[in-house]
């Protein structure tokens, strides 16, 4: 540890924080994949539970680490100058990344309650939503890592359409005449998927929006 002082990492501390955020997103994708496999036919299992819980804890630890590193950065740099906006933004978006892990974990709870989303006339739509959000997690990580501003704007535009579709599906589940357990599972599934997408949008928006406009993508468009 003391020798670390003499070693040069070659990375800026802010870049190290960005790498942790990307790592947290990759972990969130693991939680998401494991959880959705369980709710899409594989069912609950000890292994899946251990992966979901263990990886989520890792994400939480990443959040603590980012907050600590931001505090240390602020304390050491003193006159923050150019770093202050990015520090405030990362303090905000690290919570979004952590929530992606949380909602992915909630999807696993559906499998624990016995839900199986491969059964029913809407199975294709459910599967499409599942794979869309899985791809969004990876895409958000890539955009954040590469600082691709055009891709960020495109992601946000597509994201809004996705949020609307999720709302429509929740409404449809509420109005459905089928079994209550199926309706509840679908309402919760679309709700969780919507929240994951919204938190990913919050993260990606940090590339293109000023600090004061962050953190509103998990609200309805009209309320932002």
């Amino acid at each position: 540890m003391v020798l670390q002082f003499f070693r040069s990492s070659g990375h800026d501390p802010i870049e190290e924080i960005e790498a942790i955020l990307v790592g947290m997103l990759r972990d969130a994708h693991v939680v998401y994949q494991t959880a959705t496999e369980a709710v899409f036919g594989a069912g609950k299992s000890k292994e899946a539970k251990a992966t979901v819980k263990g990886t989520d804890k890792q994400i939480n630890r990443g959040q603590e680490q980012v907050r600590q590193m931001l505090m240390v950065h602020g304390a050491v740099q003193g006159n923050l100058g150019t770093d202050l906006p990015v520090m405030l933004a990362y303090m905000s978006v690290v919570k979004d990344v952590e929530r992606v892990g949380d909602y992915a974990k909630n999807l696993y709870d559906l499998a624990r309650y016995g839900a199986d989303l491969t059964v029913g006339p809407d199975a294709d739509r459910l599967e499409e939503t599942r794979s869309s959000v899985g791809a969004m997690i990876d895409e958000a990580a890539d955009i954040f890592e590469s600082v691709d501003l055009d891709a960020a704007r495109s992601f946000l535009a597509r994201g809004d359409d996705f949020l609307d579709r999720c709302d429509d599906e929740v409404k449809a589940a509420h109005a459905s005449q089928g079994a209550v357990s199926d309706a509840v599972a679908r309402a919760l599934f679309y709700r969780f998927e919507k929240r994951i997408a919204a938190h990913l949008m919050n993260l990606v928006s940090s590339l293109v929006l000023p600090v004061d406009e962050l953190d509103y993508y998990d609200e309805d468009k009209d309320d932002r």
Binding site: F5, D12, E15, Q68, M71, V72, A75, D83, V86, L214
Partner: protein, 379 residues
């Protein structure tokens, strides 16, 4: 919002250039110490005897050390000046020891003042104030224990003289030692000293000008060294602190030592810890060994100054500073029962100050200004 700036963009001046600037500043710092020494010598024995008489009481010398350090907000400036005074012969090693101990106490005012910025948030303030004042209490305790012992036995200065003798091969007992650094510094000081000596109306005025210029150079160069080194090693400090947050004991001490040695200021190290403790990111008890490491790290400045001055007595007083801080740690830290006494005292004071904020202000004013001023008048 993503960080588009590279580390070098943030630093603006390339690291190798900044490192060269630091080396040049270090040289100028040593020149400043040499000029201080030369200026005092040039004043003659009448003046130097008067200075010596004014600090003949150890208590007065201790309080003068506190006050001088509080005024310049840097124990490095005070200890470098003391080394210059000892090297010039105006102060004996014995008379300088309490001053060095006072400088140790005085330097803690900076992080205590930093902790007061958290005064509006009760819990934060309590943590920040205890993190700051544990340094005060450690140094108070060290002085309470070691000043009487040193006055009775001279164990610190005798040991320091022995170590200085080992380094210089002179076997202690005063005098000068030769080194390439000393020769280079003497040349630089000689060049600068010619200017005030040429414009001064008398030898005494010339000596005063050299003295003032020397102190000015010490003050300025140390400030610039600290500023540049902080920029130069900020990322290393960050990385090391991030890794050390949950650690305690010797690792923390080594971290504090390294950071302080590199930035030449214990105040920088301890002041960085205050917001971290206030936010709860760093536990006060984990900040404690880092603070103790900073106490040792800060003694590097006096050692550097002594190398430039080339006086065995100067080197002795610099080693006394190091030994005093080491002895404090060796006495208070290894035994778990007494290890955290300074922290407990600081937490109790912080608890009181949290309930009555004016107490915190009163403490700072009394400990770092009122008592030293009053004490100097009495003793």
């Amino acid at each position: 919002m993503h960080s588009d700036l590279t580390p070098s963009d943030r630093r603006q001046i390339p690291a190798p250039v900044r490192a060269l600037i630091v080396v040049a500043l270090l040289y100028l710092f040593l020149v400043g110490v040499k000029m201080l020494e030369g200026g005092i010598k040039g004043l003659g024995s009448e003046y130097t005897d008067a200075v010596f008489a004014s600090v003949s009481s150890p208590i007065a010398a201790l309080l003068a050390g506190i006050l001088a350090t509080v005024l310049v907000q840097s124990s490095s400036v005070t200890t470098a000046t003391i080394v210059g005074l000892v090297a010039s012969g105006v102060l004996s090693v014995e008379a300088a020891v309490p001053m060095i101990m006072g400088a140790n106490i005085g330097t803690t005012v900076t992080n205590t003042l930093v902790s007061l910025t958290h005064v509006r948030h009760s819990t934060e303030f309590s943590r920040a104030f205890s993190a700051a004042t544990m340094h005060d209490f450690f140094n108070f305790l060290a002085v309470i224990i070691f000043l009487p012992l040193e006055l009775l036995t001279g164990f610190l200065s005798t040991s320091a003289a022995w170590i200085a003798g080992l380094f210089t091969g002179a076997g202690g007992g005063g005098g000068d030692f030769d080194s390439p650094i000393k020769a280079a510094v003497k040349w630089g000081a000689g060049v600068i000293e010619r200017i005030p000596e040429a414009i001064a109306a008398s030898e005494t005025i010339g000596a005063v000008l050299v003295l003032v210029l020397g102190i000015g150079i010490i003050f300025l160069t140390l400030g610039l060294i600290t500023k540049n080194m902080r920029l130069l090693v900020a990322e290393r400090i960050e990385r090391t602190l991030n890794a050390a947050l949950a650690k305690s004991g010797l690792i923390g001490m080594a971290v504090g030592l390294l950071i302080t040695m590199s930035v030449q200021s214990s105040s920088i190290t301890t002041s960085i810890l205050i917001p971290l403790c206030a936010a709860g990111v760093l536990a006060v008890r984990n900040a404690y060994p880092i603070t103790l490491g900073a106490n040792i790290g800060t003694t590097i400045t006096a050692l550097l100054a002594a190398l430039g001055a080339g006086s065995i007595d100067g080197l002795t007083i610099a080693f006394t500073h190091t030994l005093f801080n080491l002895a404090g740690i060796l006495l208070l830290y290894p035994i778990p029962r007494i290890r955290f006494i300074p922290v407990v005292l600081a937490e109790k004071l912080a608890d009181l100050a949290q309930r009555r904020r004016t107490l915190a202000i009163a403490y700072v004013l009394a400990a770092f200004a009122g008592i030293p001023l009053l004490g100097i008048l009495i003793f």
